[in-house]
Symmetry: C3
Subunit: 109 residues, 3 copies
């Protein structure tokens, strides 16, 4: 059985405008050892005021940052991430995933 | 606790040939406020007849459209989406996700 | 109800350095009928020794391969995939998903 080699984790998919990727990465660095960035992606959504222009529901260059964390890290990470995303018109989707080699994802490893 | 700030939603990942993205977007616009498009992606799968040539199991330029909806929207959206994907050789994957700011995803918002 | 048209499957997201995509594809071909490749993606993570140079925590061109399999295929596929990923510094995330047209994903179809 491989079941004992899989560990329950949380996957975060964060979608933000490309210019805010640095802010997200900086915050993630405290909690995760790695991430995968998919860019550029395009999207249609809410952006509110952006660079002094009203870009409501426009098509903008966004980046998606995907990372996997231990469940106990979810709450402290979100405490920092949610206010940042609210200011930056970003979103985060959280999914239950199983991974092999969970220790790989620890920031200390 | 942040738990009360997270809402259970459904994530849809739709993979279709690039030329059919417009059809999918048009249908989504009735149900979602936004989506993220990852393109181009490549894939190997079933395509059947395409542009008059038999492209079975070929490598073609595909797009992936990712969106998040409230659970109660899943069924009406799929009623329209599944027949479209069947005609267009597309697929949809549905995953349970949690999001912050669920109202962000409502088409009326 | 559409529920009976949806089937519980497993989604695999495999992240590896671009040069090892061929190895992963070759292994997947025994178990799946198709996959979607998102490339290039970038990432920060563990790479250990790579091409004779120590690239610890560097930013490298990676590929993400996404595929969907029947739950009963998970274990035999992982038996082959996990050792390959360990040698190649890759990771796999496994998620429960629902799909329409499950037969579409069978290698024999």
């Amino acid at each position: 059985m491989l079941a004992h080699r899989l560990t329950a984790m949380k996957k975060l998919e964060i979608v933000v405008l490309g210019e805010y990727v640095g802010d997200v990465r900086e915050l993630l660095a405290e909690y995760v050892s790695g991430y995968t960035q998919i860019a550029p992606v395009s999207g249609r959504g809410h952006h509110g005021y952006h660079e002094g222009r009203l870009l409501f529901n426009d098509l903008s260059a966004q980046a998606m940052i995907v990372t996997v964390i231990r469940p106990e890290v979810l709450e402290p990470l979100l405490e920092g991430l949610l206010p940042l995303l609210e200011r930056r018109s970003g979103v985060v989707w959280i999914t239950d995933v199983s991974v092999s080699r969970a220790a790989y994802f620890d920031p200390s490893s």
